[in-house]
Amino acid sequence: MDSVGWEGDSVVQRYIARERDTHREPRVRITGLMMQYHEVCTRELWFFSRGVDIDRETSNIQRGTHIDETSYEGQRRSFSINGRIVLDMLDSGEVMEVKASSALEAPAKLQLLYYLWYLDEILDIERDGVLAYPAERKREPVELDADSREWVEESIRGVIQTVERDEPPELEKKPYCDSCLYQDICWV
């Protein structure tokens, strides 16, 4: 590990530098799912980052994180980039994120914005995005502007801070707990 600090703005700068150099592993490898978790519950993010896994098959709740793999089939292609992020590109060039429902809109949006940010900052590719909720026949355009950049970078700092903690963020009841995969491990 290096001795350079990870506080403040330099965190994001260093993250960018590391990601641009594809031969090096960043200390924290941030995936779209981690960005979502960060927005929903940092405790969930911490558990996830430790590889804490509960048996999804026997878990009493099955949340559809991978819902609708089949929607818009044929119109979108999946790309895995640097082994970090996997995104779907439409023929139009937009990045698409498909969600089962708009109930958790902010986390889904952050995830998509992170992809756009990643394409732009690391790979120099400018793209727009679209959030799609096939079940609700809804589509929402998503763009990377100054505010959303700030949101993404703030979240990257947050993810890194959370993941580097020795102990998880404190337990606190969230509306989301009842549908969280970690509920059983979290509250017992």
Binding site: G51, D55, T58, I185, W187, V188
Partner: protein, 333 residues
């Protein structure tokens, strides 16, 4: 919801038939078992199986517990896990290797185990006898586990053994005549009550093996029991907590409600054993008990006893990884 366990008593062949398990018994019957709906498979008969059958069980993450001649536990076939969690095992071994942490976890096991023994005795106090003496004894021993400083696991094991003795001494009174337990004996069990308890303890043990398998903890690294014993030591640890809650309560039930009688046992040279009918009757009650539910105060929902074993192991896992307190299951209901 948790899925049910499946028990196979017949002798025969276990095969894979496309995505289904197929059991051809020696009496010429064929049974198909949809794997998706099975939590754990128990083989009580003489069953042959091949790697294709194991492959299917593996794909579906189903543990198999194998019992041999006279239903002696032979071992378990545990499917590989999809998500290997190196971190979990590293933390588990670290805790084992740190004498203070190891002792503190072992103390949690013993305290909960004594608590649960005492809960059973308290239930029968007045109903079937006066157990004031045993209740005080158990209370005192639990206090010793929680309050005293000690530096050896052996001392802790000594307290556990003392508690268990005091506890088993109540069985003779709790169990309806002619069942009696003057002394707990195994290898081989020498009386009907001993045979019954041994059989049920085996079931609790295998239930713990299944639950541990689902949490990515390593079943061979225990805290109270020494690794190197032949069995999975972590399962032995967790089973101690649940024996009073599951095995002993089922034993009291089947005996006192006369679901089984002395005739359901066979005494032979190598000791006393449940007959096949007896085992079936006991297993039925045991499975019923696993499915019974209670309100969980922190999860805010009803959980079955089967889930309770799992949440206990989750709590331990969380303690190992996140250093939050481990809450060994103490009867609260």
């Amino acid at each position: 919801m948790t899925k049910p366990n499946h028990h196979i008593f017949a002798d025969g062949d276990l095969k894979r038939n496309e995505g289904t398990l197929r059991i051809d018994t020696l009496d010429g019957e064929t049974e198909y078992l949809p794997v998706e709906s099975v939590d754990t498979l128990y083989l009580h008969g003489q069953i042959t199986f091949n790697t294709r059958a194991l492959g299917l069980l593996n794909e579906h993450g189903i543990p198999v517990h194998v019992f041999g001649w006279k239903d002696h536990y032979r071992g378990s076939y545990l499917p590989k896990r999809d998500h290997i969690s190196g971190d979990t095992v590293v933390q588990q071994v670290r805790a084992y290797d740190d004498p203070a942490r190891r002792l503190s976890i072992a103390e949690d096991f013993v305290a909960a185990s004594i608590h649960n023994m005492r809960a059973n005795v308290r239930y029968y106090d007045d109903k079937r006898g006066d157990f004031t003496g045993a209740l005080n004894r158990l209370e005192g021993l639990k206090q010793r586990v929680c309050d005293d400083d000690r530096d050896s696991i052996d001392e802790l094991r000594g307290i556990e053994a003392t508690a268990r003795k005091a506890y088993y001494r109540c069985f003779d009174t709790i169990l309806r005549d002619p069942f009696e337990l003057t002394q707990r004996e195994y290898n081989p069990p020498t009386s009907e009550a001993n045979a019954l308890i041994s059989f049920l303890n085996g079931m609790v043990y295998t239930s713990c093996v299944s639950a541990i398998r689902q949490t990515a903890l390593d079943p061979t690294v225990g805290f109270l029991h020494e690794p190197g014993e032949r069995r999975f030591t972590l399962s032995l640890d967790i089973a101690d907590i649940f024996k009073p809650l599951l095995a002993d309560r089922v034993a009291f039930r089947v005996v006192n409600r006369q679901h089984i009688s002395i005739d359901d046992f066979e005494s032979e040279l190598e000791g006393c054993l449940l007959s096949e009918d007896g085992r079936l009757a006991v297993l039925e009650e045991f499975e019923k008990m696993l499915d019974e539910t209670i309100e969980h105060p922190r999860l805010n929902r009803k959980v079955s006893y089967k889930t309770l074993v799992r949440t206990d192991v989750y709590s331990l896992k969380k303690h190992l990884i996140a250093n939050e307190p481990y809450r060994a299951t103490e009867r609260w209901w």
